[in-house]
């Protein structure tokens, strides 16, 4: 097996162009598990941890540019104020040891429907930056997940960053699993209110072949908030509205039965989480903590 260890972005992109079959390795928390099980013997590994553009984050014109290789631990510690939704999701990934190594770029590379970063990225309208020697392109999160463990990156491309405008309103992330730590979620839900744009965004995990948004639920809630003048009045959120939102989020799921839970249980959990999340987020909005 070849082991490629570039130290600059240019070297990394050249290596990926020359060896499109090389498997990038960041935190290794997915790649190593597969290798240790002998499920996967890649012809080459491409270590991306020494490329500083990938392991840094910064602000650019009000937007966060989060290098694909920034660990969950650093997101929790350094970005909790700017990206609370992603930080909340990061706190639930694996164990402390996994969070010290694991990265959002790796979560995107694996593109598992159960990946915890995805609902938060979808709810924040994040964009994924992909680079190759041919140039840079940007794919919206909701267009990035193509199928079970398939994503929009081409074989010659690296996932280089996640670019997003911090949502102007409150954010929530909820996940249900079998144990508190190291749970692969049975169902997960991300929510962000964007009062500046008067829109609601969602992301659902583990309840469909790919992470996805619950479009109808988003439109329904935004329209109701608008017509009742709730964005301005910041009056209480009617419980019937929260419940209806939960039902509409549930309708976006298309889960399977597996060892971690039946489809019916996943959908039920999803509706409950969505109802709670919107209630909490709205309370934050009313008390203006999240704006």
């Amino acid at each position: 097996m070849d082991f490629l260890q570039p130290s600059t972005m240019a070297e990394a992109l050249a290596a990926k162009a020359e060896h499109p079959g090389a498997v990038p390795i960041a935190g290794g928390t997915d790649v190593m598990v597969e290798m240790n099980f002998d499920k996967h013997r890649p012809p080459a590994l491409l270590d991306v941890t020494r490329v500083s553009e990938l392991t840094e984050w910064g602000m650019d014109d009000g937007r966060v540019r989060l290098g694909a290789g920034v660990s969950y631990t650093r997101i929790i510690d350094e970005l909790g104020d700017r990206l609370p939704g992603l930080a909340m999701a990061s706190r639930t990934v694996g164990s402390p040891q996994i969070r010290n190594r694991g990265t959002v770029g790796g979560n995107l590379g694996a593109a598992s429907p159960a990946g915890d970063a995805h609902p938060a990225l979808l709810a924040a309208d994040a964009e994924i930056e992909l680079q190759s020697t041919a140039g840079t392109r940007v794919v919206k999160a909701h267009e990035f997940y193509l199928g079970v463990k398939r994503n929009a990156a081409r074989r010659d491309e690296l996932i280089t960053a996640i670019v997003l405008t911090p949502p102007s309103g409150p954010q929530q992330f909820c996940k249900i699993g079998t144990r508190n730590a190291m749970v692969i979620s049975v169902a997960a839900f991300g929510l962000a209110l964007h009062p500046d744009r008067r829109v609601v965004r969602t992301g659902i995990g583990s309840v469909a072949p790919t992470p996805r948004r619950a479009y109808a639920a988003e439109e329904f809630l935004a329209a109701e908030l608008e017509s009742a003048g709730l964005w301005e009045s910041r009056a209480e959120l009617p419980t019937a509205l929260a419940r209806e939102f939960g039902e509409k989020v549930k309708a976006a799921g298309a889960p399977i039965d597996d060892v971690r839970g039946t489809a019916a249980y996943r959908l039920h959990s999803l509706a409950v989480m969505a109802r709670r999340a919107v209630t909490w987020a709205w309370t934050d909005y009313r008390t203006a903590r999240g704006t």
């Binding site: 260890q5 240790n36 099980f37 909790g80 402390p96 040891q97 010290n100």
Partner: protein, 164 residues
């Protein structure tokens, strides 16, 4: 390659697929770090990599060149056991001892993380004054113990945390 372990530089010849855990155990004879699951779930292989607790089974040794690895073998000082080791002994923090090196290395990393003010999933918006039992349990959740010595581990860590 050269690997710096417990402050000593060691020369090694390794296949580039060798994990840090196998390099420590099979090539350097440091068998304190245990292989419980080999896929990141049990924490028995926990070491500190540049001060951060890490599952050695999920790291390739070649990626550790130029980094500092700390294992259980290097924890005790010239004056005796590390305070976390001492507390495990005093509070019966183990039965068979298989998970113990990983628990102890993880705890050392955990205490340092708490010191820096890193929040956990159970931390609310206000940082608690000290390491409460729920905080310790959450922060040690990457280390499993098949013998169920959790009561002793919790007591040991509560004790260490209250002293520091």
């Amino acid at each position: 390659m050269q690997l710096s372990v417990n402050g000593q530089s060691r020369d090694l010849e390794l296949d580039n697929r060798t994990t840090l855990l196998d390099a420590l155990r099979e090539h350097l004879g440091l068998i304190g770090s245990k292989k419980g699951c080999d896929h990141g779930q049990c924490g028995a292989c926990t070491v500190l990599l540049d001060g951060r607790r890490t599952n050695a089974c999920l790291v390739l040794a070649v990626t550790c060149a130029g980094r500092e690895v700390a294992t259980i073998e290097g924890l005790a000082g010239p004056d005796g056991l590390h305070p976390v080791q001492q507390a495990f002994v005093e509070h019966d923090g183990f039965q068979c001892g298989y998970c113990t090196p990983g628990q102890i290395m993880s705890a050392v990393g955990m205490l340092e993380e708490f010191e820096r003010g890193w929040p956990s999933a159970v931390t609310g918006e206000v940082q608690p004054a000290g390491l409460t039992a729920p905080e310790i349990r959450e922060r040690m959740s990457g280390n499993l113990c098949r013998c169920g010595a959790y009561v002793g581990i919790l007591a040991a860590l509560t004790d260490v945390a209250s002293r520091s």
